[in-house]
């Protein structure tokens, strides 16, 4: 940001005001005004207390989920990049497979979570696979869209100078695909975490999903909220990291945190 100091203050200040405002309203509504019962919305202080009380336990489980989600995400990226490039090599193949990929992206992929858990006994591995399965499709579609985004003139130019298929990908298609791929990554990490947590909901033996279900049983809103914040912060950090990588790699463009 090369904005003037006053403008920069406003840009950082207002969001900060927003966070403080939300926290403040929450505090007032619960502790001061007692608008909500503790099983509906506990005070933020209670949430922090709950977290501190069992923090090692919570952090252990958060780490289990986070690791499963992240590894699933990375697996999905690898597969999506490879299959994306293979699919775009041949127009016929691409046209044949696209409806299936779009269809796969449309249906609720989490619905097969119970099935995967049935087949795979190891819970963490099952969560990882569900995360990868869920994240694969949106990332793949973005990869393909990106590789297809090269203009005809650019392709023609490369054709006139005799470029091979690999040279086409290396000099043109892959760099052009980067913005799309990064969009896919941001969606992908969120989706992967969804997959991991849903896996834990169903298998219910470890991880944030398991803890959240315990919270549900006891109507322990404080615990559930603590989990929400922890996972939220973890995912936000990863998305921020992706955004930083994107800004670095695509130096020729202005990137925003999320483009839609």
């Amino acid at each position: 940001m090369s904005a003037r100091p006053a403008h920069r203050l406003r840009r950082l200040g207002l969001p900060l005001v927003g966070v403080l405002l939300v926290a403040g309203v929450w505090l007032v509504a619960t502790d001061v005004l007692s608008l909500f019962g503790p099983t509906v919305l506990p005070s933020p202080i209670k949430v922090v207390d709950e977290f501190l009380r069992i923090r090692e336990l919570i952090l252990d489980h958060v780490w289990i989920t986070f690791r499963a989600g992240l590894l699933g995400f990375l697996l999905a990226i690898g597969l999506a990049l490879v299959t994306g490039m293979l699919v775009t090599l041949n127009q016929r193949v691409q046209d044949t497979l696209m409806p299936l990929l779009v269809g796969g992206n449309t249906v609720p992929r989490v619905a097969v979570a119970p099935l995967i858990i049935f087949y795979i006994d190891v819970t963490t591995f099952a969560s990882l696979l569900i995360a990868a399965w869920v994240a694969y499709f949106p990332i793949l579609i973005n990869v393909i869209e990106g590789l297809e985004s090269t203009s005809k003139d650019e392709l023609d130019f490369l054709s006139v100078v005799g470029a091979s298929t690999w040279q086409e990908y290396r000099f043109l298609k892959i760099p052009n695909a980067l913005p799309y791929i990064f969009d896919g990554l941001k969606i992908g990490i969120i989706t992967a975490m969804v997959g991991a947590i849903v896996g834990e909901f169903v298998a219910s033996s470890e991880g944030v999903g398991y803890l959240a279900l315990l919270g549900l049983q006891d109507s322990n809103v404080a615990l559930t909220l603590a989990l929400v914040f922890l996972i939220g912060i973890a995912t936000t950090l990863i998305i921020y990291a992706i955004y930083l990588l994107e800004a670095r790699l695509m130096f020729w463009q202005d990137t925003s945190l999320f483009s839609e």
Binding site: R10, R11, L14, P15, L16, V17, G18, V19, L21, V22, T39, V40, G69, R92, D95, T96, L97, P99, L100, N105, T106, V107, P108, V110, A111, V112, A113, P114, L115, I117, F118, I190, T191, M193, V194, I197, V198, F201, V202, V208, G209, A212, L213, G215, L216, S219, V221, T224, L225, L227, V228, I231, G232, I233, T235, T236, I239, L257, F258, E260
Partner: protein, 267 residues
């Protein structure tokens, strides 16, 4: 023209021609689908562990039909929840999107909260919504609404804030008030974005409902899939999943075509 019989004939001929066109375009895709089913059957016959580990197509159909009552009532439950969640999410999402886009300060204040809410994997809130709204249809619908609200809201905001400068100048020259700009120009310019967001909301509402049903021990297809897998009734499990896919695709096609019909298509 000699009346209704000719018209329905022509309609029938056109429909057949359209079907023919679709088939010639997508026959390779259909071929792959057929091959997948063939592969399924082959794999099912080869695996030694039998139908309760990997069911043949025949067994799947058989076991599913055997509990068709249960399946249909679950489908009804899920469908109701999905449609409700979808409608609420669109109404809420568009309203919030319009409001947020009108007031720049509100937008900038709410930004970090928004980013956090966007990054948060929505399913972690499912238990919370069930505590708040109860285990049952209410909770499931509420959660489905929450998941689906975001694509609608974000797309509405993007669409509303994207009116080009020229239109603002035009508005100024005509002396249009903020609300007139909103009603006559900005909402219409935002429509393509809003419709795109709504299409995503279709998928999101289903995901929200299914996940809600996973953990709310009640009814619906999500619950059914968990139950069937737990009881190692694999044929029924696969059958239910396939039914869910059919429902999702149908719902998606209906809503998408409806949206395209209503809104002017600008791409």
């Amino acid at each position: 023209m000699s009346g209704t019989s000719t018209q329905s004939e022509t309609g029938g001929i056109e429909a057949r021609a359209e079907l023919g066109r679709l088939l010639s375009r997508y026959w390779t895709t259909l071929l792959i689908v057929v091959l997948l089913f063939v592969g399924w059957e082959a794999f099912a016959r080869i695996t030694p562990r039998g139908n309760n580990y990997f069911p043949t197509l025949g067994f799947t159909v058989e076991q599913t039909l055997g509990s068709s009552d249960l399946l249909l009532s679950s489908l009804q439950s899920t469908a109701t929840a999905t449609v409700l969640a979808f409608i609420f999410s669109v109404l809420l999402g568009v309203t919030l999107g319009v409001v947020f886009s009108q007031f720049v300060t509100v937008r900038e204040i709410g930004m970090p909260v928004l980013i956090f809410a966007y990054a948060l994997p929505p399913v972690i809130l499912a238990p919370l919504f069930l505590i708040w709204f109860g285990i049952g249809l209410n909770g499931v619908v509420a959660f489905g609404t929450w998941v689906a609200v975001f694509p609608v809201f974000i797309n509405t905001m993007t669409g509303m804030t994207q009116t080009e400068e020229e239109f603002h100048h035009l508005g100024e020259i005509y002396g249009a008030t903020s609300w007139q700009m909103l009603a006559y120009i900005r909402i219409w310019k935002a429509l393509p974005h809003i419709s795109a967001g709504t299409k995503v909301a279709v998928q999101s509402s289903i995901v929200g409902v299914i996940v809600g049903e996973f953990i709310a021990s009640g009814s619906g297809m999500g619950y059914l899939i968990v139950l069937a897998a737990q009881r190692a009734q694999l044929g029924f499990t696969y059958g239910t999943i396939l039914m869910l896919i059919v429902f999702t695709v149908s719902f998606y096609l209906v809503v998408t075509n409806l949206i395209d019909y209503i809104t002017p298509h600008v791409e």
